[in-house]
């Protein structure tokens, strides 16, 4: 089964608007319906609206895998109630994998690269980030639709393939290397010894799962103290 070039393009652009109407109650539900309706034949829209009007939340870059499988299921005339069950399972699996792969691994690693290069060589840093990050996530968006459509609900096993695990490992190592390299953005005459206690305190905050708001408040207090001493 093939999706067709023009349908793929339509779906791809629709997926860019997945989270427009993100809400606490239904999360990406409207975005999911909008995406699925973009790729589905008009005479199946009513069935989709009747049975797939569900709570939906997945990683925005991974939605293609699920939508592709949904389109295939509807076109093959599968029972909409079964489709609904698969959607519930698929969204959670791809959400968790996408969050770990993109939010926790690829994005921070590439941002660290952008910070280090950007502070040393200017605009090259941000440009490298934009290029690499978008190549990876746009590839996932586009490939997701065709792979999901081809493999149906078996698409979920793609998360265990070497391609996924290797990408994650590669970016974890790159990220770790760049963390070690971050202090090089400081000037040589700075008092670098402060990095150790401050870094330790912040790490303790993060490990103890202290809310980011509190960490920001701590920084806020440090700044106020500095401001008062500075004046």
């Amino acid at each position: 089964m093939h999706l067709g070039f023009f349908r793929l393009i339509k779906l791809f652009f629709a997926s860019l608007f997945l989270q427009c109407s993100w809400s606490f109650y239904s999360m990406q539900s409207l975005g999911f319906l909008f995406n699925a309706m973009t790729g589905l034949d008009k005479n199946k829209h009513d069935t989709l609206l009747q049975y797939s009007r569900v709570f939906f939340n997945t990683h925005p870059y991974m939605v293609g895998y699920i939508i592709g499988a949904v389109l295939r299921a509807y076109e093959k005339g599968e029972d909409p109630k079964e489709v609904k069950k698969y959607i519930m399972v698929g969204q959670a699996a791809f959400a968790s994998a996408g969050d770990t792969l993109f939010w926790q691994t690829i994005r921070p690693a590439l941002l660290l690269l952008a910070i280090i290069i950007g502070l040393k060589y200017g605009i090259a840093g941000p440009l490298i980030f934009l290029f690499l990050y978008n190549v990876i996530h746009l590839y996932h968006r586009a490939y997701g639709f065709s792979a999901g459509y081809k493999q149906g609900w078996d698409i979920i096993y793609i998360l265990k393939t070497k391609k996924f695990t290797m990408t994650q490992k590669l970016f974890e190592e790159l990220g770790a290397f760049l963390v070690g390299l971050v202090p090089s953005v400081l000037q040589k005459n700075y008092n670098l010894l402060f990095l150790i206690p401050l870094g330790g305190i912040f790490l303790l905050f993060l490990w103890k799962k202290i809310a980011p708001m509190l960490i920001l408040t701590f920084i806020f207090i440090l700044i106020i103290i500095n401001l008062l001493l500075g004046i």
Binding site: C20, F24, A114, G122, I123
Partner: protein, 214 residues
């Protein structure tokens, strides 16, 4: 750039946070580059953007969590710098810029929650009338845009009105850089410290050491 122009630009960039595309344009270092470029000082834009980026590196928008608004902080901080430079001071106070950014990140997350509740109302309207799916879905872009516009316009207006003390730049910059780099290292270790990647962290640290010694 005027306050209105900056707010408009910031609100458009903020759409990238989740409403449209998520290309990474709203990340502080990229937003800083854009604002800096349009204000005629791209290096400072990158510098301020990078500072905010380091602070919010481990800010993960997972599930229903609404973390502090890193994107709003970057735009507000960078925009404030150029507003102060334009009207007020030769070399704006970086610590004030920082405080404005942190305030924006806290206010931004409250605004985020508010917008999501409005979107919820749009969803309920959709449940009553299926045929208007496209309308209610795309109205979400408007709510996101207005969120950015209200947040930034209010902050930029305050920055424009108030007058802030000037602090020696060297004290200012060194203190900030040390805090921010410490937090960025903590963020990075929190994200990447695993058995298999530990050696890469050490290699990176050795490279830094070589950079300072040589």
């Amino acid at each position: 750039m005027t306050i209105l122009g900056l707010s408009l630009l910031g609100a458009i960039i903020l759409l990238d946070k989740y409403a449209i595309g998520e290309f990474g344009i709203s990340q502080p270092i990229i937003a800083g580059t854009i604002i800096g470029g349009l204000s005629g000082d791209i290096r400072t834009g990158i510098f301020i953007g990078a500072l905010f980026q380091m602070i919010f590196l481990a800010n993960l928008p997972i599930g229903r969590d609404v973390p502090p608004d890193a994107q709003g902080a970057g735009i507000a901080g960078c925009g404030s710098y150029f507003i102060l430079k334009q009207i007020n001071q030769a070399e704006p106070n970086l610590i004030i810029i920082f405080l404005v950014g942190i305030l924006a990140s806290i206010l931004g997350s409250f605004f985020d929650i508010f917008v999501r509740h409005i979107n919820e109302q749009l969803y309920y309207r959709f449940l009553r009338n299926n045929s208007r799916l496209y309308l209610y879905h795309f109205l979400g872009i408007l709510t996101s845009f207005l969120r950015g516009m209200v947040l930034l316009l209010a902050l930029f207006a305050i920055v424009n009105i108030l007058r802030f003390p000037i602090i020696t730049e060297s004290v200012n910059k060194e203190f900030l850089m040390i805090i921010v780099v410490s937090l960025s290292i903590a963020n990075g270790i929190y994200l990447y410290l695993r058995k298999q990647s530990f050696y890469f962290l050490i290699i990176g640290a050795l490279c830094t050491l070589a950079f300072f010694v040589l």
